[in-house]
Subunit: 600 residues, 2 copies
């Protein structure tokens, strides 16, 4: 591939400023659910890890001095996300920096390449045209999963045959759940290959106390926001269209929320709101129609409405219908016969829907058992329903505005292949470096993490957390992936309706709806003003969970150093009293269901 | 509107470096067709005009020293195009620079505001948030035309009522044809308002010997190329989709050609090629299917295919069908009855087409009598036909590749509202300045022009040309706008199939098709590398017609100054012999039909 912005575009830097890195082990991680510890006997309960520069003044931190040559494999899993190539670049760079004899193999064609032992040795030449470039085309990708016994065994056979010391899995929640499972299986099978995960997904839904954001999310939101803003400007200039824009990003609405905060469209329908308020298709239609009507009364006959890709899965009755369809698929019922075998209730809804949506709902589910969300044109469905309702209101005389005209868009593919933003280039590259250090420390089943991301690169904190510590177990089904019920998994995090990003949206929703305060953040910049901006959802939240865990340890250490044998009775008394009260409070808070130790 | 990149983003500069400008009048313009001179008795045959800095050493150039306060109106006509706001900024700046008492009125809501005398006085405050911003939302726009007697009279009444010295019409070929007509009508009616046109259209189809490119074309091509490249990267990563992308830009394929040269997709179907080779829908389908098959044989099951917006109008049989439908519309036949009244031949084609296209073909034509091109999803039609044909080939055993999967896109609205590129910001701003100087020189029916655009801003040549000199008369119908037959008009220029840009495409077509040499120019940059790039179609063509006309005059002047009374017999003899030969050659060349004086 030719390219215009190459390696020199960014000052992507070695996060550790040299070859010597200190490794500090924190406390053992735990989760509230015992199913997880039982399912992962070899990899559960491992400690958090921090990687520090050699100059860091941490007494307990180890320095790993020996860096034997190692063999590492890397595989792209799932939807391509901008920045993926830089993870590979980072691993390669760190490997060669510590031992030029180390080897990095890329698996060709994603997990299929892993199963079939199809590899490409990553060299400077191979990397030359892929540094800071989008897509996954250096290696390609195919299937999303490494889940069946057959697949896991094939992966194991590959790692043994290629004598890999490490396997790096680059992907989202599903792929990292697979990574944890592989790590456990490999440990059980005494295979020496250590498995490391990297959080790369444009959905931005791989979030928890250890993971602040995902590689690709920043780029996707910026490119989409550019396009949404352009459409807003267009709406305001032509003053005759309502644009319904669906945004790729799966069921969780992180992309839609961030793009709303960036571009201030008139409306956004978050799947999490719909699910928590149990809004039906009819409620949603009415809500949009009422908005159109209110705007028409102010002589505004245009607007922009954002929808998350997986909205259909959040609408209760459509979700129930989808589940019935998927169940029939699983039973092997042919597409032509599905509609006749639906329950009367689901059938009534199905028959009500326009033909194009029926066809899309009947598509075979994706490899991970969820609906073919990218193919279901919710934006057209809603535009259709709104148009019908507006026509009805015109006839009834309740709507007196101009004719309602909708234009529909799905923004996904045109953002997904973008050149990565500076942030994603850096984040991915640093994660690649961390992968090496995880392997050099001999750790298995870990995810590479960087925290404190909202600050400049030199303040980022590099670490690693056991993937099992991010797992939860779903006891009831939510989303058509019903097969995962009862099994520990890293689940996509929904938008936190109590979080600051959502609060920001709520505060401005009425202004966005009525006042056309469209904002144009402009195209991705690599230089000059705007090049260093980060997503709002990253910047407004108090993240840095791992930083705060470290801070707490410092307090505990300080108490211990003050209250040593030999200290005065008063000091001891004060310490006991204060700590008793702290422990009481924490016991109470920990017991309450809303703030358990499960990842948010 | 909030904005992130404001006035300081660009060093948009006064093209004349001060208030004094020299005006140089060239030869009178002419066209080959006498219908034009008869239709425009007052405004035909006016000379070309060059505007020069005060320091320019041109003996005949006038300096206009008096700058009385004037009143100017400006109106946006037709589709919004990035950079339009900067034209208004340029006019305002030049007006105030020469006389702070001058007034600029913007018409609200496009030509409807012009007819209804709805104005907004343009001030620094009004401009503050629109400088270097996309869209037309500062003033808005509605209808595209100023054509009927009623409309022309309303415009005349407005100009008289508001005591306008000048009216600036910002738009494409149709709006500038209207501008020329208004200028003639105003002159006939002894209305003192002078009419000036500005070439602003994202289509890039307002080209001739005086106009190298249009405001907005650079931006549109850059934003589209960014998205197309992203899709190419995506195609190459996923390796399972064919993307059919239709690009806004009307019937002419300038946008599609430029985007192809920028991003190197696998295929582009230019309307001009289809029309000149008289390809049918079936030929086109076969061509694409053969390409898919050839790629599959090389194990490539993905690709990106570009289509111009108005492709349907270039396919002979679809064009004939559209004409019948439009004729029936004109006769007042209702949409439900149209299909039954088609000729047997058109009816057969119509019935063959998929339902969604039928519905779109039946839409009422746009205000300028052409089809609702943006609403006709040619990309889906072709994807549909190709899929059917590929399925057939699979059954016949002639195609053995993977299943053909298409994803369709229409890129238009998301590019049209973009922040303008640096080039468009500058070009528009300079054109705005020129508008003032055209009015200060008392000229009527002129278009503001800048030539030598492929060079840096300080080498641009500012001028003005009578719009009538760009007109031609169509004697036969091509395109559903049959009502313009026989009337002089500025017609959209098709892609020149003998031009250098097209040649560049032809040379690379096979490589693009088979080798996936995708190129990613990246997002629009305002700073750093890439910020100063220009469209390839601008850079490869030898344009600067006006510069070369000037160069010729310099030669003629030089001959005259050498061969003065008193020169030697030998010099005179040499001059006579040389000039006789030049005149002979030119007489022969001018007589040949392929190089007449009609605009290309």
């Amino acid at each position: 591939m030719l390219f215009c912005f190459g390696e020199n575009r960014l000052g992507t830097e070695d996060p550790f400023k040299g070859t010597t890195v200190r490794v500090e082990f924190g406390d053992a991680t735990s989760t509230a659910d015992h199913t997880i510890s039982r399912s992962f006997p070899h990899t559960y309960g491992q400690p958090l890890v921090h990687f520090l520069r050699a100059t860091a003044q941490i007494p307990d931190a180890q320095i790993i001095n020996e860096h034997p040559a190692i063999r590492v494999g890397a595989v792209f899993c799932g939807r391509q996300s901008p920045g993926g190539h830089n993870v590979v670049w980072g691993i390669h760079n760190a490997l060669k920096l510590h031992n030029p004899k180390s080897v990095l193999l890329g698996f060709l064609g994603g997990s299929e390449g892993l199963f079939a032992q199809k590899t490409l040795e990553i060299t400077d030449d191979v990397l030359a045209t892929y540094k800071n470039q989008g897509g996954y085309d250096m290696l390609g990708r195919t299937k999303d999963q490494i889940k069946t016994t057959e697949q896991v065994n094939a992966a194991l056979a590959t790692c043994k045959a290629l004598k890999l010391d490490g396997l790096v899995i680059i992907g989202g929640v599903t792929s990292n759940t697979d990574a944890a499972q592989l790590a456990e299986t490999f440990a059980e099978a005494k295979c020496p290959t250590k498995v490391v995960g990297v959080p790369v997904t444009l959905n931005g839904d791989f979030r928890n106390q250890f993971v602040e954001t995902n590689v690709g999310f920043d780029t996707i939101c910026k490119v989409n926001s550019q396009l949404i803003s352009n459409v807003c400007t267009d709406a305001l200039s032509a003053e005759k269209y309502y644009y319904f824009i669906r945004l790729m990003g799966r069921t969780a609405s992180h992309v839609a929320l961030e793009c709303t905060l960036q571009s201030h469209p008139n409306m956004v329908v978050l799947g999490e709101e719909v699910a928590s308020s149990k809004l039906t298709l009819f409620d949603l239609t009415k809500q949009i129609c009422d908005a159109v009507q209110a705007r028409a009364e102010q002589d505004k006959n245009h607007g922009v409405i954002l929808l998350p890709e997986g909205l259909v899965e959040s609408i209760p009755e459509v979700y129930a219908l989808l589940q019935e369809i998927h169940e029939l698929h699983r039973q092997g019922v042919s597409v032509d016969n599905i509609s006749s075998q639906l329950s009367p209730w689901a059938s009534a809804l199905f028959e009500f829907l326009p033909p194009f949506i029926k066809k899309q709902l009947l598509l075979h589910p994706e490899s991970d058992d969820s609906a073919q969300l990218s193919q279901i044109e919710t934006e057209k469905l809603l535009a259709d329903l709104v148009e019908t309702e507006m026509t009805k209101r015109v006839k009834e005389g309740t709507y007196k505005g101009k004719k309602f005209n909708a234009i529909c868009h799905f923004f996904g593919y045109q953002a997904r292949g973008s050149l990565p933003s500076k942030f994603d280039c850096d984040y991915a590259y640093v994660l690649g470096h961390i992968c090496y250090h995880i392997l050099a420390a001999g750790l298995n089943g870990y995810l590479a993490t960087v925290t404190n991301l909202k600050n400049p690169v030199n303040k980022w904190r590099c670490g690693a957390a056991p993937i099992t510590a991010m797992m939860t177990v779903k006891r009831y089904s939510r989303g058509p992936g019903a097969s995962s019920i009862g099994k520990p998994a890293v689940h996509p995090a929904p938008v936190d309706l109590k979080g600051k990003a959502y609060e920001l949206l709520r505060q401005n929703a009425t202004k966005f709806l009525m006042d056309d305060v469209y904002r144009n953040p402009g195209p991705l910049q690599f230089d000059g003003p705007g090049a260093d901006t980060k997503t709002m959802s990253l910047c407004v939240e108090d993240q840095d969970y791992m930083g705060r865990i470290k801070k707490l340890q410092e307090y505990l250490d300080k108490v211990r150093s003050i209250v040593k044998p030999g200290c005065s009775q008063d000091v001891l008394k004060a310490a006991l009293s204060a700590m008793a009260s702290v422990t009481d409070i924490l016991s109470i808070v920990s017991a309450s269901p809303s703030t358990g130790s499960t990842p948010v």
